[in-house]
Symmetry: C2
């Protein structure tokens, strides 16, 4: 998977460059906490944006750096707030202390807030064609809205006595994780006048596969490699894809979705090899 790893590293560099070029986000603790939260991730979402843009020509990839950085800001904001004591109460993220452990809760709330603002600001200030900017902003706001809605559904499910059905769990996870992965997959094409049809199908499939893989990781992973606490869901008696489909069933479903994702990219031929690798990586990853 050399190509994918190089492409992910490249995406992380591009995001880091865009973020480094931003003026300070405010006083030191806020600015530091925001930049800290942006570090240490895989860069998968940024990679999807850049690679999807690059499929339509290198000039589009060059223009997609702001959208790539924006989705990483949204992702980082969601992680900071999810980790808060009143939410998942996690001390560890990406193998390091969570923002509210390293700073404090108030700084964590504000850093998440400001990262969301920064995401929209990055796209608004990207100097793209105005109609491109508007469609990126509109679709991102819809996906970011789903993410919060999914988080709320997740919280309600944890508090409820009735376990979720498979359809409910799929809807919850689509909202919570899938919608923003899907946005990442189509955002590249949104920079162009090309159809988003193929990347849309790809994004839907990997969005679904991702959470199944996460649930498998929660059961099979090890905290040191995963970089966060594991077996939390199983211990909490949460309905996961593993509890709903069984471990083998979950793996089978994830594999089918990866196949679906790869098939969706066939119109792009060999140009889409790295995106196909990414789809396989989504379910093969160890963290």
């Amino acid at each position: 998977m050399a190509d994918l790893q190089a492409a992910l590293a490249d995406a992380r560099d591009i995001v880091a460059n865009v973020i480094d070029a931003q003026p300070s986000f405010g006083p030191a603790p806020l600015d530091d906490a925001m930049r800290y939260a942006l570090e240490g991730g895989k860069g998968l979402r940024a990679f999807l944006v850049l690679e999807g843009a690059g499929l339509h020509g290198p000039e589009h990839r060059l223009r997609a750096g702001h959208a790539a950085a924006a989705i990483e800001c949204i992702h980082a904001y969601s992680l900071i707030h999810d980790d808060l004591p009143c939410m998942d109460d996690d001390d560890l993220r990406r193998g390091r202390p969570t923002v509210h452990k390293k700073w404090d809760e108030a700084t964590a709330v504000l850093a998440g807030d400001a990262l969301q603002t920064a995401a929209f600001g990055l796209i608004a200030g990207a100097a793209l064609r105005d109609d491109v900017t508007v469609r990126l902003m509109e679709s991102l706001s819809i996906a970011a809205g789903y993410m919060v809605s999914g988080q709320m559904l997740d919280m309600m499910a944890e508090r409820s006595e009735t376990p979720l059905s498979l359809a409910e769990a799929e809807s919850l996870q689509w909202q919570k994780t899938g919608a923003l992965l899907h946005w990442s997959a189509v955002a590249g094409a949104l920079h162009t006048d090309a159809t988003t049809k193929h990347l849309d199908a790809y994004g839907r499939a990997i969005g679904r596969a991702f959470q199944i893989a996460d649930d498998i990781l929660d059961v099979e992973g090890d905290a040191d490699t995963v970089g966060k606490a594991v077996r939390k869901d199983a211990n909490a008696g949460k309905a996961t894809f593993v509890s709903l489909l069984g471990l083998d069933g979950a793996k089978r479903r994830a594999n089918e979705l990866v196949q679906e994702a790869c098939d969706a990219l066939s119109p792009y031929g060999d140009d889409a090899e790295t995106l196909k690798e990414a789809a396989r990586f989504v379910i093969a990853r160890t963290h």
Copy 2:
């Protein structure tokens, strides 16, 4: 002040109509908490947007409803998060329980997050001219970024032994409160191809006056009328404009700024009467 009160009520109705027309923001507690947080405010920011647009023609006012609703969403999000136990820890807002008291902390974090998303989504989906949408989004993201930065500065000031200088307090308050009021004042003109120059000067002056008035209210107000706890700042030994300038000095400065705001609108003649009333209201208000 009959005109202003009617115009504020009208602005609140327009915002309510825009929000009512939005699809559900998610599962009931999230959707309910978001709509609850949007209720009971003065609608000052929405009024400023609508009135500033109307100065350039009724057709612009008609188009500005989404931006008016957006700024109220940003304002509501900031209040929900400011009221959290890890921030200002307030139980009362607009005379009613704060969101984390009525629901819980996690719902409050998520409702604030989703209101920020909704703000950008409302503008992105407003079907304005694309270049208008982009400049509204870009300027709003800058102002919303300042707001969080100002909130962080405020928190740092509370924890510090050294009281703020007047210049530091002015910068803090400009970021925390002034920048979004200023945005509200210019957003109407941003819907048009007219200059923002006069509304910019007006917005700068009322943005500055507003926080001075808030500090005066904190000293002179009464919790029942203000709708939130008072004398918190003085009790916390915080540097306020009252502690820095004295009560009379603060009132004098606020009056000067109101005069400045009214003068800035002279090119609009009588059309700007309600905005001038609003400037006077900013320092005369009881809540």
